[in-house]
């Protein structure tokens, strides 16, 4: 008999806030990575030269974008997913009165928060990169801003959040499986090799492969469905695997 009855959701929320409080450094790391990308990877220069009319003409195109910030944010997302499966993280959660379900739910809430922050900051960093471009002579702005095209702006945040969440769940699932059995490391090596060969090795398969399954989707509704379904499958696998792991047995 307890004086206070907590619902599963209430417990998960409390655990999520504790997790959020304990893992502030993870978000600081995101900021550091994004600043590194902004300062050191500002753009790429392409030069084209012609002399069709007797005198040389040279173009120097500097392309500035938030590709680097996006890449490092997705990289961070994968690592964060992986980190949350560490034995230390798992054991820490069971210091509180809790169960496997609330543990998983709290992790999921944490991923959603991290994806929200990753998505918003990456898109907002685009504005910073745009300011850098606008200070140069002869600039061409090819991406509409928030005021010119608010829906496009929001769709960028949504897409970034979706990919960040997906990468986190992939890292989380891989981490869970590896925690379960180290044999999965070898298996993933094989899967990774097969994936890269099927996706990048063939030159004319731009419109096929696993990446195109998400990136090639033109309907935002179908894209959302694909992401949600994948996340549900990944989450179910990690839930199944984590249930079989013993607490405080790294």
């Amino acid at each position: 008999m307890y004086s206070t009855q907590w619902s599963v959701n209430e417990l998960a929320k409390r655990q999520f806030f504790l997790k959020l409080n304990a893992n502030g450094a993870i978000f600081t790391m995101l900021i550091v990575l994004q600043i590194i990308a902004t300062v050191f990877i500002s753009g790429a220069v392409t030069t084209t030269s012609m002399n069709d009319w007797g005198e040389p003409i040279s173009f120097n195109f500097t392309s500035i974008s938030n590709d680097a910030q996006l890449g490092l944010t997705l990289f961070w997302a994968f690592i964060v997913g992986f980190l949350l499966t560490s034995a230390a993280q798992r054991n820490e959660s069971f210091s509180f009165v809790t169960n496997r379900l609330t543990f998983q739910l709290a992790n999921f809430y944490f991923f959603c928060t991290a994806a929200l922050l990753g998505g918003v900051t990456t898109v907002l960093l685009g504005s910073v990169m745009k300011i850098i471009a606008m200070f140069r002579d002869n600039m061409i702005i090819e991406t509409a801003g928030l005021l010119s095209s608010p829906l496009d702006f929001l769709s960028r945040i949504f897409v970034m959040m979706a990919y960040t969440l997906l990468l986190m769940l992939i890292g989380y699932t891989l981490g869970s499986l590896i925690q379960w059995s180290k044999l999965f490391i070898a298996l993933f090596g094989v899967i990774w090799y097969a994936f890269t060969q099927s996706t990048f090795a063939v030159a004319d398969n731009e419109n096929s492969g696993l990446l195109y399954f998400y990136y090639g989707e033109t309907s935002i509704l179908l894209f959302t469905l694909k992401i949600v379904a994948t996340i549900a499958v990944l989450f179910a696998i990690s839930f199944f695997v984590t249930n079989r792991l013993e607490v405080r047995n790294p």
Partner: protein, 235 residues
């Protein structure tokens, strides 16, 4: 092979770095509130960046060069002159009249194309129209869209005196452009995917169209392909 090997190595190194940094952060006793203050400050800075970028964008709206489709690239200027068809105004660099005394001489010249049409008038006035070459850079390979940068070309116009015209050496053109575009991944649903700006093309050379009355005697250089100059006398 590059991706197959490099990506797992980078991921592993990243994982180790983040674990080490996270552990060290604990050791140097950074207050937990520090992280949240940092995140809040960072978000505020980014929001300020957004406001500034939006304000600047509104101010400079319309500075992008004109966009043209593939069907508008490579205008057939020769045919338009011969057939007396309309010519886009943006190709006209200069329209001038010159009074000539006696024999009219054109000295050898590089990098230009001269079209001469004799007119039955009895006068000493030559009508000159100078047309710019087209300079295009492709920015959307899928839809074959180009930016028209023709007006950015520096061109030295022909030099005239009382009885001759010469085409000066053309200046070297070094064009520098900075493109900003959001990552293609983010633009999955906006239709603003870019395929790079790696290709450009110059169509033709400076074309000088001269209307010379029959009464003016002409002294033009012999055609010499090696010197890269061309003169056509239109019938």
């Amino acid at each position: 092979m590059f991706i197959t090997i490099l990506v797992p190595v980078v991921l592993l190194l990243g994982l180790l770095t983040i674990i080490m940094v996270t552990k060290n952060m604990g050791r140097v006793r950074i207050k937990k509130s520090f992280h949240w203050k940092l995140i809040t400050g960072y978000l505020v800075l980014l929001l300020i960046g957004l406001v500034v970028a939006e304000a600047m964008e509104q101010r400079i709206e319309g500075v992008n060069p004109p966009e043209v489709g593939a069907n508008e690239v490579g205008f057939d200027l020769y045919n338009a002159i011969v057939e007396e068809l309309p010519i886009p105004k943006n190709l006209v660099l200069a329209k001038r009249s010159h009074e000539v005394e006696g024999k009219f001489t054109i000295s050898s010249f590089p990098g230009a194309y001269i079209l001469i049409k004799r007119t039955p008038e009895i006068s000493g006035t030559i009508e000159e129209t100078v047309y710019s070459p087209e300079l295009m850079t492709m920015f959307n390979g899928e839809d074959s869209m180009y930016y028209d940068l023709s007006d950015q070309l520096k061109i030295n116009l022909p030099v005239w005196n009382s009885n001759s015209m010469s085409v000066p050496k053309q200046p070297e053109n070094r064009l520098e452009y900075t493109f900003y575009h959001d990552s293609n991944i983010l633009n999955q649903f906006t239709g603003e995917k870019t395929h790079g700006n790696s290709s450009g093309s110059v169509s033709g050379v400076m074309t000088i169209h001269l209307l010379i009355p029959d009464t003016i005697e002409l002294d033009i250089p012999d055609l010499d392909h090696e010197q890269n100059y061309y003169i056509d006398i239109l019938e």
